[in-house]
Symmetry: none
């Protein structure tokens, strides 16, 4: 059944007054350890468990069985975008992560400061400067390089030796090779176009590299830049067009705000705590019909191997469930974008717990919200890309298919 879900859903979507909340606890999925259960099992979460008894539970595969997704593919899949078809370049994600405003004609790229001597890249990370030192040199570049031919150049500082370059102009393309020898001790490498449309961009990039070398020639270490991961702004089908949803994103971390923007959600200003996000949800309740609510810390603590605090975040979220329910969402989904087991200290391939609550669930099968109840739930195991179909259905926003 390999069809473009969005092509099909787009034909069936009908407007409605129903409201949907999609709560994504980043990396919430987990695995048991020798003497503990998963984070969801260990958490005292009376509200989520009560909700489970009235919900349909299942577990999702973000990409394919066994494949560990980054947060990008994990989220795109949940939003109904084929994560293999829409692979968002790291350049764009880094830019969005740095709050860079990227327009449709722009090309962005990741860059590293490097140390070059006699045309050889001696250190691909320029001695790992601190973020502050690096920002000063980025500022120097920004001050001295604003345009090459008819293309505007902007620089955005990042962490340590990293920064982002944005090219704005006509007829730019991102099919270019990395201007990076990949290893220390090799000569500098210029970029080459991978197709004719990228010839102009390649020319500009290579001129930029020479200009950078000129501007930085008196720097002791950060005297060059390697530029790679070129990406144009991906043209994704947008939520209002595909799903006829006026969608809002409530997320604090830049990357998730960026992904939400990519898919056509309005990114709301919010604070840094779960409580702040719930407040933002309430304040904007009337204006939207779909709310993506993102909680990051379940993933952060998972990556730290900190099961205890991952549990605490779940318990904290649980305390706000009644407030969300008091708004009377027609559909309330609780899930994650991938699993981040504390035992592995990284994202993993394990299926992701998923729970959908509405008036129309086959309630009564599940006792609580955790990986095991989800594996045995009424939804079974399904691909995350199919979540939006389910969500729209429960919101009575899909016409019948066929006669």
């Amino acid at each position: 059944m390999n069809y473009d879900r969005q092509e099909i859903l787009k034909e069936l979507v009908q407007p409605a007054q129903t409201k949907i909340v999609l709560l994504v606890m980043d990396g919430v999925g987990d695995i048991p350890q020798d003497s503990t259960g998963t984070a969801l099992q260990m958490a005292k979460k009376p509200n989520l468990d009560a909700l489970a008894q009235k919900s349909d539970l299942g577990q999702t595969i973000p990409v394919l069985p066994g494949i560990t997704p980054g947060s990008g593919p994990g989220h795109l899949s949940l939003f109904g975008y084929d994560p293999i078809k829409y692979q968002i370049g790291r350049g764009i994600l880094e830019a969005l992560g740095s709050n860079v405003d990227v327009g449709e004609k722009d090309v962005v790229a990741r860059a590293n400061f490097a140390t070059v001597k006699d045309g050889v890249v001696v250190d691909r990370r320029a001695g790992r400067p601190s973020t502050e030192e690096s920002a000063k040199v980025v500022a120097k570049l920004a001050e001295q390089i604003k345009k090459i031919e008819d293309v505007e150049i902007r620089f955005y500082p990042g962490k340590e030796h990293r920064f982002v370059v944005k090219f704005t102009g006509e007829d730019l393309d991102d099919q270019l090779t990395d201007a990076d020898p990949q290893k220390d001790g090799k000569p500098i490498v210029y970029t080459e176009p991978l197709r004719p449309q990228a010839e102009k961009t390649a020319k500009i990039v290579n001129q930029l590299m020479n200009k950078i070398a000129e501007v930085l020639k008196d720097e002791p270490k950060m005297n060059f830049a390697l530029i790679r991961g070129f990406s144009k702004y991906p043209k994704l089908p947008l939520f209002p067009e595909v799903y006829k949803l006026k969608a809002a994103a409530i997320a604090t971390y830049p990357m998730y705000r960026g992904i939400a923007k990519l898919v056509g959600m309005e990114v709301l200003e919010t604070g840094s705590t779960v409580e702040d996000e719930i407040k933002t949800l309430k304040e904007n309740w009337e204006k939207y019909d779909f709310f993506y609510l993102h909680v990051k810390k379940t993933d952060s603590y998972g990556e730290d191997g900190n099961l205890q605090d991952k549990v605490h975040v779940i318990e904290e979220v649980d305390r706000f469930i009644p407030e969300i329910l008091s708004l009377n969402p027609d559909v309330f989904v609780v899930t994650g974008d991938h699993s981040t087991p504390a035992a592995l200290k990284s994202h993993s391939w394990h299926p992701v717990p998923f729970m959908i609550y509405s008036k129309y669930t086959r309630r009564g099968l599940s006792k609580a919200f955790d990986e095991f109840e989800c594996a045995r739930g009424s939804l079974g195991t399904f691909y995350a890309i199919d979540a939006m179909g389910l969500i729209l259905a429960h919101a009575l926003r899909l016409e019948k298919f066929g006669a």
Copy 2:
């Protein structure tokens, strides 16, 4: 999500020191009968059941729901090859099953002795000769026909009226029609090329048929041969290239050794019992990182309708589980290539029990290893083609997908 799994996995595979054992009990899946459970349910298997409590269980679909696979597709799927895309000609499988050494330029075909009178095929099986009688006539052909034009011809005796023909030469192709009228009482049929590249081969095959008729003209019954099922050696992507695995196959029956060879495994010499196979596993443990271990008798007894002995084979395998575990495999999978219910005396379409053990399972959901626990396991129901993705993930041999 209809993507070529191997194309995607190939991009994500990373080398590692981890070791994988894939134990395939041929046709192990079963169905209950009036007064008995399935073979797995009936077997006393304390080791497999203890393992199930620490493993992720699920059930696989080898091809599509409802489709009964031969061992060929069943195995290919388990090894990660799309069984519909890679349909291995019966000619090749019969050849491999007869231990025929097939090179990349060869074409093999199945042949039947037949009785012909005045150009009409009177009996497509030449009166069903015994295997011994048939072998004598095959030897006569082998002695008198060695080459046609520049193509070498070799004959390999099979069961009863069957044998295998191998053509070795330049510019051979297998896109030919069967030289077989399909029914008794019809005139003999010559082969025709299905595309230009097969013209030379068709010419050689038709000349061969005339030569065979000449050599066998004094035979009372076996005076002709029908030749069909032409196949060239299929070029499959190979285990070392796709999965970066140095894989070994420990199997006694020729067809499985053949399939393993096809996919790039090294086929190890072993004895005829399970104990012999375990010994081979131990002796070669250091040299490989993936071991395919095949037990045939579960299928054989299933095809005989002999539930009791199917149970005994499972119990025998169970006794060797601790020895396999004592080698400390990082990933240990126990499954089958298809179901062969004793009640049906043949392969069937029923999903196949699947169990994967590693440090990273969502252990604790399953109590024992049988069809019913597998239907309710943490992996749910999935396509066998996705098993390799899971296996590689548990072996920490896959990079993250996307940012």
